[in-house]
């Protein structure tokens, strides 16, 4: 509707022009009428003069002139006869009491005025004494007779007549016509156009056209609002619904767009249906392909078991979800020797069967919620959730019993399969947990007889208690130093340092050993001190920036607990208001953490944008977080996972994924960073692709 306002000046111009042309036509018409009326008036006047003179009836002429004077601009008129004819008929008709049955005996006029001559045609002519100056009126005496009765009458013969008018006109034009029998002189006013009449007509025209325009406009608005718009909206809503269905991956079987738009919408219906089917088919194919790729990436090809990457993801999940359980490392020992003796085919068969037995055991025993992973060769791992030491021992005994038959089947006379189980350490890292599992596995080999070893849970609990105490003290004293890692440079010929990520270097004051950052944060989170630590971290970073230590940006990773806490965010908002170096900070989080706490991060990113602060997603892997999900987060930076960056040039699938990511980020204003680029060719490729920067 706002666009309609654009037409108002055009409509106003059209109305103005129409009115102007109408006014001009009225003026032209009035001019023509004026000319015509003057010409008509002259013609009528002359005709009536001729007729009146011929019939000796200037009275009739006077009547016609008076009528003309009323109708036209004719003013004073003077008619002067040149010859003075009359007839019996004229005289007889001049007296009401007689008629033409009476006979005229004699006609006479006063000798001073002239004499009467008899014309051959029976008429009479008055011959005045002075031919140049006849009296205005000549008195004719006539005597009539009927049945011996004689009567006398007088007839006043007018030789000229002046018919005046009271009208006054500023400009007068005078005209004189000399005819054979008379001289006609008259005056007329120069008719002025009736401007008031024209103005009235123009005003009336304007009002009418305005009325029509407004009526049409109102009609149009009503038709648009109550007829076109609802229909149009209904159609668009239908289309939207269909498109939404298509986007949601549902197949549309029938489209019910209003039938009145028959042909075109019929075609549209068909196209929508085709599009829906095609889209569904494509997305099905795509998701199958995607599933296959993901499956392949996380699955061991030989056994179909999840691989080490899958194991690491599940461990991450355990950290995030704060799960309990046991991690078991298991291995068919001396597999190399076995291969030499029996060939790789048999080894593969052994590994496959071994995998199947354990997987089948876990699947058929609901009391054990666990998964077996194949790392490589004959090395496996297991995660068993929510079990005690006793339960894990029972499970291992059962597994050992099941797998015994393999010794006979594959001439595997010594059972060389060992199991090392360690409780899941919530404070640990993937590496520390794997190391712990490896240690228990070594113990199992040492013990030999049992084929398994289970780490003491209590021992770990004691260690954790000591760790918790240390963490409390460190946070209370803010007793940690900062180190800066992930130096990220741009791609200039002399690369400029763009950013670094801060990491706390924490030393246990009792053992004087470094506490791994991951472990420290886990403990702090569990104890409820994580926000205090995050605050201390931010304060220390800003203090060092203020000291002038850095001109580049510093990335800070906050815990999900802090960034979703309103009190913490209020503190952060207030604290950052006081510092001019807020622009030097980039808040950062790994993509798997963002994916696990997506809603919290969406809210946190909104907070950051409102406070003009930047956010970066690091270790970005498309399987953690779909590209579309980035839209709500709208990060300033995206650092790709290391796996995408290494051996980039040699892996076409990586190139394809990275190009897709770059395209998406370019469209959405996200700067993309590489991670740990080692290879020079990869570095050049990233530079060519327009990466913002990279760490090396």
């Amino acid at each position: 509707m706002k666009k309609l306002l654009f037409f108002i000046p055009l409509i106003a111009l059209s109305i103005f022009l129409s009115t102007y042309f109408y006014y001009s036509s009225l003026v032209d018409e009035a001019e023509v009428k004026k000319e015509l009326s003057i010409e008509d008036m002259k013609k009528e006047l002359l005709a009536s003069a001729s007729q009146s003179v011929a019939s000796n009836n200037l009275v009739l002429f006077e009547k016609i002139v008076k009528n003309l004077q009323n109708r036209t601009s004719l003013q004073n008129v003077n008619i002067k006869l040149k010859k003075y004819y009359f007839s019996d008929e004229l005289l007889l008709k001049s007296v009401a009491s007689i008629d033409e049955s009476w006979n005229i005996l004699e006609i006479s006029i006063d000798a001073m005025q002239g004499t009467i001559a008899y014309m051959p045609d029976g008429r009479y002519e008055i011959l005045t004494n002075d031919k140049n100056s006849a009296p205005a009126n000549i008195t004719i005496k006539f005597e009539v007779e009927k049945n011996s009765i004689i009567k006398e009458f007088l007839y006043i013969y007018e030789t000229q007549k002046e018919i005046k008018t009271d009208k006054s006109t500023a400009e007068l034009k005078s005209l004189s016509y000399e005819e054979n029998d008379f001289t006609l002189t008259f005056e007329y006013g120069d008719i002025s156009i009736n401007k008031e009449d024209i103005a009235d007509k123009t005003r009336s025209f304007l009002l009418n056209i305005l009325f029509i325009t407004i009526s049409v406009f109102i009609l149009f608005v009503l038709i648009y609002n109550y007829l076109i718009r609802p229909k149009f909206r209904k159609t668009i809503e239908s289309l939207n619904e269909y498109i939404k269905n298509i986007l949601d991956g549902r197949v549309i079987k029938e489209v019910s767009i209003p039938k009145e738009f028959s042909n075109e919408f019929g075609l549209l219906n068909q196209n929508i249906l085709n599009l829906s089917k095609k889209n569904f088919s494509l997305s099905s194919e795509l998701s199958i392909s995607k599933d296959i790729i993901y499956q392949k990436e996380k699955t061991d090809e030989l056994t179909g078991l999840p691989n080490k990457k899958s194991f690491e993801n599940d461990i991450k999940y355990m950290f995030i979800a704060n799960k309990n359980g046991f991690i078991i490392q298991l291995k068919i020992d001396k597999i190399g020797e076995f291969t030499n003796n029996h060939g790789p085919e048999l080894v593969d068969a052994l590994i496959e069967e071994f995998s199947y037995l354990i997987k089948n055991f876990l699947d058929t025993n609901p009391k054990y919620d666990g998964t077996i992973y194949r790392f490589f060769g004959a090395e496996f791992a297991m995660i068993v959730y929510d079990v005690t030491s006793q339960e894990i021992e029972d499970m291992l005994i059962e597994i050992i019993e099941i797998t015994k038959k393999l010794s006979y089947k594959y001439y595997f006379f010594e059972n060389e399969i060992y199991y090392g189980a360690t409780p899941f350490d919530n404070y640990g890292t993937i590496e520390s947990i794997l190391q712990s599992a490896k240690d228990t596995y070594e113990n199992a080999i040492k013990e030999k007889s049992k084929h398994y070893y289970i780490a003491d849970e209590k021992n770990q609990q004691e260690l954790n208690k000591k760790l918790e105490q240390s963490v409390k003290e460190i946070i209370a004293r803010k007793d940690f130093v900062l180190q800066y890692i992930y130096d990220t440079y741009d791609f200039n010929s002399s690369p400029k340092l763009l950013m670094q990520e801060v990491s706390a270097l924490i030393v246990d004051s009792l053992t004087l050993e470094c506490i791994p950052s991951r472990k420290f944060l886990s403990v702090a989170k569990k104890l409820g001190y994580i926000m205090d630590f995050d605050k201390a971290l931010i304060e220390k970073v800003l203090f060092e920036i203020e000291l002038g230590k850095f001109t580049h940006k510093i990335c800070i990773a906050l815990s999900s607990t802090s960034l979703s806490n309103q009190l913490f965010l209020s503190w952060l908002e207030e604290f950052l208001k006081t510092t001019p170096y807020r622009k030097n900070l980039i808040f950062v989080a790994p993509s798997y953490s963002v994916a696990s706490n997506y809603d919290k991060f969406v809210s946190f990113c909104t907070f950051l944008r409102n406070n003009e602060l930047e956010f970066m997603i690091k270790q970005y892997h498309i399987s953690d977080l779909e590209l579309q999900k980035l839209l709500k987060l709208s990060p300033s930076y995206l650092r790709l996972e290391r796996a995408y960056c290494q051996d980039f040039k040699r892996d076409s699938s990586k190139q394809h994924i990275v190009k897709q990511i770059l395209l998406f980020c370019d469209e959405n204003g996200i700067k993309v960073l590489g991670d740990s680029l080692k290879n020079e060719q990869d570095y050049l490729a990233f530079e060519m692709l327009g990466f913002y920067g990279t760490s090396r």
Binding site: L105, E106, S108, I109, D110, A111, M112, T115, K141, E143, E145, S148, I149, I150, E152, F153, L154
Partner: protein
Amino acid sequence: MPFETDPVFKDKFLNAPKEFFTINITTTSSIDSAAKLLKDEDIVHESFVFKFGKNGEWYKLMYGVYPTYAEAKSALDSLKKLSELYLPVIEKISQKQELYKRFNKK
């Protein structure tokens, strides 16, 4: 004894110069009416009555012979009663001399 115009005046009238003036009093349909009118007005000796018309049925009454129009006018003004009853007109005498001759040929 039917009325007759004074022969002296008749002669004077008919022989008067053409440019002289006379007064055309009226026309009557009988000689008696003409005689009565002249007697009533006492202008018998200055009047000339003669017949005219196809059948000579009309009598024209003329009065006086005047060398000028002014004299004729003065005479007409003196005939007030006559002027009220009739419509006398001053005419050139020649017109009536011709009229007489046209209808009174011997």
